[in-house]
Symmetry: C2
Amino acid sequence: MTTETLNIREMCDAFHVTPRTLRFYESKELLFPVREGQRRLFTKRDRARLKLILRGKRFGFSLEEIRQLLDLYHMNDGQEAQLSKTYKLAERHLSDMEAQKAELEEAISELKEQINWCADKLSQMSKEKTVAA
Amino acid sequence: MTTETLNIREMCDAFHVTPRTLRFYESKELLFPVREGQRRLFTKRDRARLKLILRGKRFGFSLEEIRQLLDLYHMNDGQEAQLSKTYKLAERHLSDMEAQKAELEEAISELKEQINWCADKLSQMSKEKTVAA
DNA sequence: CGTTCCGTTTACGTCAACGTCAGCTTTGCT
DNA sequence: AGCAAAGCTGACGTTGACGTAAACGGAACG
């Protein structure tokens, strides 16, 4: 049977993070590893959460923002008020992300242009060299 | 004639940043305002650079990474070695950004799913309330 | 049975990206 | 001339997200 839970070392290797990072995330209530004695064991749920945490970070969300969003992904029994609050938060994040996507697309096309200009310049320079030789 | 250069206050208003930020960027060699006496005057070039800086920041690039990329956008007279170095850097950033875009799209669609699930749950709850009444 | 790994807690250190404050010119206005 | 507003230069403070080091516990191995 494939390991149901990971110890800290396995978890680190699986996600390329340090033990310090995992303990830190636990202290911030982003992860909730169970304990075997005093050692941490990371469950499937922790792995799903960590994946989302790392993704969120890549998009520039703070750990606190991510923590709130994680509630949405792991909500089963929320009260209506809480649920509706999280819902609104998620909608804001969604529109943030869509704006980000539009901007990203613009930035990509501009960067491509610059790269082409750059490539032209380089090929031009190598040509001149050949001619000079 | 429309102002050719902006003083620090105008520059701040135009980009919604603080004077401290502009001085900080200058100290990090991201901006190069000219001086009129001891006061800074921001040129068109500075405005173009600041726009790119702020964009880069939104995508999670560090100021140092951005500084290197700016070299690409304002390169006219670079030596071949330098140009080719910057070119490679730009290509790495481009592929970073394209990977980021793909991930962002995935994240968006997942978040949308969750939001729909959430909306269902909420409408279901309000229905139950109505029935109970 | 010693020691060598893991792992744990506690606590202080660090780095980026500014914020904030003090003290000093310079400029514009009256 | 007087004075407030705007800018300048240090210099120290702050926040988020960890790094790093010290000191300890258990278990596994020769």
